[in-house]
């Protein structure tokens, strides 16, 4: 029993990181129909920039804030320079553009920060908490709390604020949104800033546990993409559920079956889900208009 609890703890922790990345995917997808494969690089930048600022002598909270703000700015720049000029391009081209952006950011990070593995201290110490015979790191609680707070914050933003509803309107029908006076260009900018910021936050929260280096982004991007698709692309609830589900699946597979194939379990389940529910778990049915 304690063993199962232990696996669940680690699964929920990893799942929270995936959920944050998947939420980032969802926001950009809703605003622009683009799946941003550079999302994982935002996670890397969050952790890496926090490390650099912290190592330069800044207090950790300030370092984290700078990292999140700078990453958001990079997200906005990416939108302005690479995504907006390619508006209306086919899916394959967009995939290549965002993967190009991710390779570019990774290459830049390698030049600027080198190839070493970095970390910084956990926020509330490293003494594990004992719950029901299993242990959990205080940092895990930070990660899980972060995912929940971001989700609730986004939910409030999208349902209770005018700007949030403008984003939703844009994702439903861009042209109609423009016609009722929504500045869709601003919505795009906002979405990229928000999404990059959330990715960076995931990096800040997870780095004390997972460590970071210039090349961690790709793995986060693939898992976050998978989680978002599992839940149903474009649905924030789906992203949250998909992220936690993927984390739990991995942890349980690693614990009970084989740690080598933990990533396989996730993708097998995704294939199975897509066979039977081609729109993901929470996706809405779409019909092709002729």
């Amino acid at each position: 029993m304690a063993e199962l609890l232990q696996f669940l703890f680690s699964g929920v922790t990893v799942g929270a990181v995936y959920a944050l990345v998947a939420l980032g995917f969802t926001i950009i997808y809703n605003a622009s129909d683009v799946v941003n494969f550079a999302q994982g690089e935002f996670v890397m930048l969050g952790g890496m920039l926090t490390f650099v600022c912290h190592a330069a002598g800044l207090p950790l909270p300030l370092a984290a804030l700078i990292a999140i703000v700078v990453t958001s700015a990079i997200g906005v720049a990416m939108n302005k320079l690479a995504i907006e000029p390619a508006r209306g391009a086919p899916v394959v081209s967009l995939i290549i553009i965002t993967i190009g952006a991710s390779i570019f950011i990774r290459g830049g990070a390698q030049l600027l920060f080198g190839k070493q593995i970095h970390s910084f201290p956990a926020f509330s110490g490293d003494t594990p908490l004992r719950i029901g015979g299993a242990t959990i790191l205080p940092q895990s609680l930070w990660v899980i709390g972060g995912a929940v707070v971001v989700f609730v914050g986004l939910w409030l933003f999208f349902t209770r604020t005018l700007t949030g509803r403008a984003v939703l309107a844009t994702s439903n029908n861009r042209l109609a949104a423009q016609l009722v006076g929504i500045n869709t260009g601003f919505v795009m900018t906002l979405s990229f800033a928000l999404s990059a910021g959330i990715g960076a936050l995931a990096g800040v929260l997870a780095t004390p546990i997972t460590l970071t280096s210039y090349d961690v982004g790709l793995a986060f991007a693939l898992k976050g993409f998978a989680a978002a698709m599992l839940g149903g692309m474009g649905n924030p609830k789906g992203a949250l559920a998909g992220g936690f589900l993927l984390g739990l699946l991995e942890a349980l597979t690693a614990g009970y079956l084989s740690s080598q194939y933990k990533d396989a379990a996730a993708f097998v389940v995704i294939l199975l889900v897509l066979f039977f529910m081609p729109q993901g778990l929470f996706g809405r049915k779409s019909t092709e208009r002729v």
Binding site: V92, Q260, F267
Partner: protein, 318 residues
């Protein structure tokens, strides 16, 4: 005499393959050329899947991995000749593509992307983890094809680089010829119709699911043969051949060059294979430049490099 596009493409390819060695400053360039041809074969498969039929795959390196490891494993464990191992790999890839393709080709766009991505990752994971069979991430040796020795006995003494240059060049011509024939066949026309509009294609009686599957299987066989040739040429193989980045490389080569035509895609393969060779001097900047090239071409030349260049030339001529 006016050439059909098909014979024109084949003629251009043939001339390029035959004449390029004149410009080679050293024997090393035969190896680079052979590498371009190997990539070009995989990319020709992507043209059939993405350019003709309009479907996306982010996992085709999985089939390259199957082809490569078939050439490494079958000679040792089944006692097959490496050339038969190549054929076996192609058959296995085709059968797997048939089985996997049936359910996943119902998906569209990004959903198809994630499903194929998952497939590719599963293959690369098996290759990485089954150490006792595949040697794990360290890779394994691949037996010699033996054809070069035969040619030598017959009086044709080629260096290793030269042999693979001509052999892969021949394979590429063959692959391009088959793909061009497909383009003008009823199947090719039907594929292009469903690319235009699935609903319209179905309305005129095209079995959309079956045709997509056919394109997927054919392109998987191309990827597999490309993986086999890579393995036989290097005589060594690592699971990277099946990795996600290799899948992305294939798609990028095709789309960058111009996924609408065989020649464009092959041009893309040549550019992206040469790029790291040119950049070896600035090794640290390689990723930076690669990322930049991918973004710039897709933003400013969305039709791909070759079609844009050709349009420019023609525009001036008129």
């Amino acid at each position: 005499m006016k050439l059909t596009p098909k014979s024109a493409t084949l003629l251009v390819l043939l001339v390029l393959i035959l004449l390029s060695p004149v410009l080679f400053p050293s024997g090393y360039y035969y190896r680079v050329g052979a590498l371009i041809f190997v990539n070009a074969i995989a990319v020709t498969g992507i043209v059939i899947l993405t350019g003709y039929a309009g479907q996306i795959s982010l996992g085709h390196a999985g089939f390259a991995g199957i082809g490569a490891y078939a050439c490494a494993l079958a000679p040792v464990h089944l006692g097959l000749h490496p050339s038969l191992a190549l054929a076996l790999g192609a058959i296995i890839s085709g059968v797997i593509a048939f089985l996997v393709g049936r359910p996943i080709l119902r998906l569209k766009g990004y959903y198809l992307g994630v499903a194929t991505l998952g497939f590719g990752i599963l293959v690369s994971m098996v290759l990485n983890n089954e150490r006792q069979l595949t040697g794990g991430p360290d890779g394994m040796e691949v037996p010699d094809l033996g054809l070069r020795g035969l040619l030598k006995d017959a009086g044709l003494d080629l260096t290793n680089g030269q042999f693979w240059y001509w052999f892969c060049g021949l394979a590429l011509i063959l692959g391009a010829w088959l793909a061009l024939n497909l383009y003008n066949s009823p199947t090719g026309r039907a594929l292009r119709a469903l690319h235009g509009s699935e609903v319209a294609a179905r309305t005129v009686g095209i079995d959309v699911a079956r045709l997509k599957l056919r394109a997927f299987v054919i392109s998987a066989v191309y990827a597999s043969v490309s993986g086999s040739l890579l393995a036989l040429q290097n005589k060594f193989i690592t699971p990277d051949v099946a990795g996600f980045m290799h899948s992305i490389e294939m798609v990028t080569m095709a789309v960058l060059g111009g996924v609408g035509s065989i020649l464009g895609a092959i041009f893309g393969a040549a550019v992206l294979t040469l790029l790291p060779q040119v950049l070896t001097v600035f090794a640290e900047y390689e990723q930076l430049v690669l990322g930049l090239v991918m973004m710039l071409v897709m933003i400013f030349l969305p039709q791909g490099l070759l079609p844009s260049i050709l349009r420019k030339i023609r525009g001036k001529g008129e």
